[in-house]
């Protein structure tokens, strides 16, 4: 099985709002795949369809070679899920919930659970009502990581964790990758995706707008150039130059890869005092895909 998750032209509407509008998503077995998008882009809806909680309107979705709706129970033995907004039973302790979720999934390794509890510094004897948001998230994470699931579905798993615990989380995900598990990590935290993922899918308004490795995506995007020159230069007439800002002898612009050579030629002709030329960060990629003029209002999840 080459692909753990295969989604083609998936549609799902709630009343008149289309949450998913022809989504495509492929997660290869053994990879950590980041699923990026702003709030309301359709990430949680996608995960709920993969879990068989929601029924798709049309399109194809397969999970570990099975149908997420019809084979839900048997597929769930092989996956573990961490919801974005972890709600626990207030009267149960964290330790009880970890054990319970593990048993509901078909068993968990108590030693591994214990090790994770120590690693995440969780007090398992506390009632869930006394946990902060981050601690509730730890409970769900530990329960998922302590299972021997082939596939982890993590919906914004670090949104409540502090930086220290986020680092622990990253270590854990890297361990999972080593162990050959597949991870689908939905997030709007770009640094997390950048640090963890093998491949990225960016989703906007229920549709995948870009997918690939980060290297491939930089390939498709512009470079950022900032230069201090000996003499003023004119770049207006060049195709592939965007967001040009010339102040005296300083130049800032974004340049398509095809135009890079021409732009550098003009700059060196004018005399370069300092030059910065770098691929965009994921944040900048994000801004490009979700900048207000490019995206309409988000669809509520």
């Amino acid at each position: 099985m080459a692909n753990a998750i295969e989604i083609r032209a998936l549609h799902k509407s709630f009343g008149r709002t289309a949450a998913l509008d022809g989504l495509d998503l492929t997660v290869r077995t053994g990879e950590v795949h980041a699923f990026l998008g702003p709030n309301g882009a359709g990430k949680t809806t996608t995960i709920r369809i993969l879990l068989g909680l929601l029924k798709k309107d049309s399109g194809e979705a397969s999970l570990l070679g099975g149908d997420p709706w019809h084979d839900a129970v048997s597929l769930h033995r092989a996956l573990a899920y961490v919801p974005g907004d972890v709600t626990l039973w207030p009267g149960l302790t964290g330790g009880e919930i970890i054990d319970l979720l593990g048993r509901l999934r078909g068993g968990l390794d108590p030693k591994r659970a214990q090790a994770l509890i120590e690693r995440f510094a969780l007090d398992p004897a506390k009632k869930a009502r006394a946990y902060s948001r981050g601690n509730r998230q730890k409970v769900a994470l530990i329960a998922a990581l302590a299972s021997d699931a082939e596939l982890l579905l993590l919906d914004e798993p670090t949104s409540g964790l502090d930086p220290l615990m986020e680092a622990t989380f990253r270590e854990c995900i890297n361990d999972e990758r080593q162990a050959g598990r597949t991870v689908l990590l939905s997030s709007h935290i770009l640094a997390e995706a950048e640090a963890l993922s093998d491949r990225v899918t960016i989703i906007r308004d229920g549709r995948a707008v870009e997918t690939g490795t980060l290297a491939q995506m930089r390939h498709l995007t512009r470079n950022l150039i900032a230069a201090e020159l000996a003499a003023p230069v004119s770049l207006d007439d060049l195709a592939g130059v965007h967001d040009l800002d010339v102040t005296g002898d300083r130049v800032r612009c974004q340049v398509d890869r095809a135009a890079l050579n021409d732009v550098l030629g003009r700059l060196t002709a004018a005399g370069v005092r300092s030059l910065e030329c770098r691929p965009p960060t994921l944040e900048e990629l994000f801004l490009r895909h979700y900048s207000p003029e490019r995206s309409s209002a988000g669809v509520p999840e």
């Binding site: 709920r48 929601l54 129970v73 207030p90 302790t93 319970l100 078909g106 006394a130």
Partner: protein, 543 residues
């Protein structure tokens, strides 16, 4: 300068109380008027019924003598201080109206203090321009408003029925002051624990203890520890004696309780952190017990405390009500209209049987409400996103739903068993044949199970088929059944309407005959509704 001015404006601890109280009253705009209406209708309706049933002074004197002479009835309703219409109304529904009004304030105060705090809503509100004490003050106002409304409307309604004005005002004040006393008590209880559920439990526990204390005091009579009634806020209601040489000063006791409770609650709130309780949260188990390993174990774990509470209530109520059955015939025997009716029915034995059958019907109706509430937990788990983590494991939807349904069915059966056992013991011990009566009443209680489950099955059907309507729909169905059973005969509704309620098809035991066919039909309906509901659940979206 303006920033400073703003800061000075925000300086009082009660800033924002008005807005918060308006929000709270808006959130309760359906429940509060409904509660007020029910309480007033109960008391005024009783006064009206007594007026029609006991038009003569001698008839009322006989009722007062029987009611006051029966220890079990005194335990249930309190002392009889006179034989006027007002005295009898106070006896029959004074304490009970106070219980309902107090329950109303308990739910209101906890809902707008600890529940909001636990849900994190208070934190959000507290970050706005709202004083430290505004939340608690708003909750108190939200509880005081309906209490005062009850006081005014009851004081107006009772003279309209024909009761003396002074006494009517006295009874209205006594009921409202008791509700205020529990407003104060609940305000304290909500400070003690970090969980809304335990806070509510403490307040209801205090109410239950008050009922038992004055019950013992009243039942004991002059020779026994009658002072116990003075130790109970519910006792103060009857001790005010509104229609028989009123003791107005007794009203100072609940008002002082209210004032002390409110002062203590504000003091406690100032000494604790947001979200924390004064009673320490005990650490629990670090690992799950063997029992907590599947959806059924989880449902049992979550529901067992609630079931225990219901069962305790059942045990007390039905033991006392069963004990009151002896001599219940004389209670109605002197009203000539009733006498004719009961003679037609078969005399004293038939009256006792009719009374016990009515008790068992009540047990069945309340068990149906319990089962409905338990099955609706499925819906609240779904909307509260607690269902999601369970359904994301190797637990199918039907198995998940069946876990709560199983608890509802077993719980309803257990409650009916407690009702039959307690009523059988209560009545049987007094007539000297406990074994026989327990067997008879256990059978009578279990005969109500199919009808109770039929209402629960409607809830399953709604939850599967039309989840958005599950909560209001299920309670409407239960409410309809209650109305039909309690008032259907009196209102002389057509049998088409009466037949809607499954309890119309239950045997009236003891005394009646058992027809198997309607029970089979009920069983089939339970099965059909459940299967259709669960099938629909498998096909729909969750959440």
């Amino acid at each position: 300068m303006t920033a400073l001015a703003h800061r000075e404006q925000a300086a009082t601890a009660l800033t924002g109380t008005g807005e918060l109280a308006r929000l709270a009253i808006r959130r309760d705009r359906i429940a509060l008027p409904a509660a007020v209406y029910v309480i007033i209708a109960l008391v005024a309706g009783t006064a009206y019924t007594f007026k029609k049933l006991y038009p003569t002074a001698s008839g009322r004197a006989a009722l007062a003598a029987t009611g006051g002479g029966n220890a079990a009835l005194r335990f249930l309703y309190g002392q009889v201080y006179g034989s006027s219409l007002g005295s009898l109304t106070t006896w029959r529904y004074g304490i009970w109206a106070a219980i309902f009004a107090s329950l109303m304030t308990i739910f209101v105060v906890v809902r707008h203090t600890r529940t909001d705090e636990e849900a994190g809503r208070l934190e959000l509100v507290g970050s706005t321009v709202v004083g430290r004490d505004a939340g608690l003050a708003a909750a108190l106002l939200t509880a005081i408003a309906p209490s005062l409304t009850i006081c005014v409307l009851l004081g107006l309604a009772l003279p309209f029925v024909g009761l003396p004005v002074t006494g009517s005002v006295g009874l209205a004040l006594a009921v409202a002051c008791c509700a205020l006393a529990y407003t104060g008590i609940t305000a304290v209880a909500a400070q003690l624990t970090s969980s809304a559920r335990s806070g509510r439990g403490i307040a209801i526990g205090v109410l239950g203890a008050a009922f038992v204390l004055r019950g013992i005091g009243d039942a004991a009579g002059a020779s026994g520890p009658s002072w116990l009634s003075w130790a109970s806020p519910l006792g103060w209601v009857e001790l005010t004696r509104p229609f028989d040489a009123p003791r107005w000063w007794v009203l100072a006791l609940p008002l002082a309780t209210f004032a002390l409770g409110v002062a203590l609650a504000f003091a406690l709130a100032a000494r604790r952190d947001l979200g924390a309780g004064l009673l320490p949260d005990r650490p629990g188990r670090a690992t799950a017990s063997r029992l907590l390993s599947g959806p059924l174990g989880l449902a049992w774990r979550l529901e067992r405390g609630t079931l225990l509470g219901w069962a305790t209530g059942y045990a007390f109520t039905f033991a006392a009500s069963g004990a009151a059955a002896k001599g219940v015939g004389q209670l109605f025997g002197t009203s000539s209209a009733l006498q004719r009716e009961f003679t037609r029915l078969g005399g004293q034995a038939a009256i006792t049987n009719a009374y016990l059958a009515a008790l068992m019907l009540l047990a069945g109706l309340v068990a149906a409400a319990y089962a409905t509430a338990t099955i609706l937990r499925l819906r609240s788990d779904e909307t509260g996103e607690r269902a999601e983590p369970v359904l994301a494991t190797a637990t199918g939807r039907v198995r998940w739903a069946l876990s709560y349904i199983a608890v509802a069915v077993i719980g309803a059966a257990a409650l009916l068993a407690v009702a039959g056992l307690a009523a059988g013991l209560g009545y049987g011990l007094r007539v000297g044949q406990a074994g026989h009566e327990v067997a008879v009443l256990l059978g009578a209680a279990f005969a109500q199970l199919p009808a109770a489950l039929a209402l629960a099955a409607v809830t399953v059907l709604l939850f599967g088929w039309w989840p958005r309507a599950a909560v209001p729909g299920a309670w409407t169905v239960v409410g309809l059944a209650v109305l039909i059973e309690l008032f259907g005969q009196v209102l002389q509704l057509s049998h088409w309407v009466l037949d809607i309620s499954p309890f119309t098809h239950s045997p009236r035991l003891p005394g009646g005959t058992v027809a198997v066919a309607p029970l089979l039909w009920l069983g089939l309906a339970v099965l059909a509704f459940s299967v259709v509901g669960l099938a629909a659940l498998r096909r729909r979206d969750i959440g």
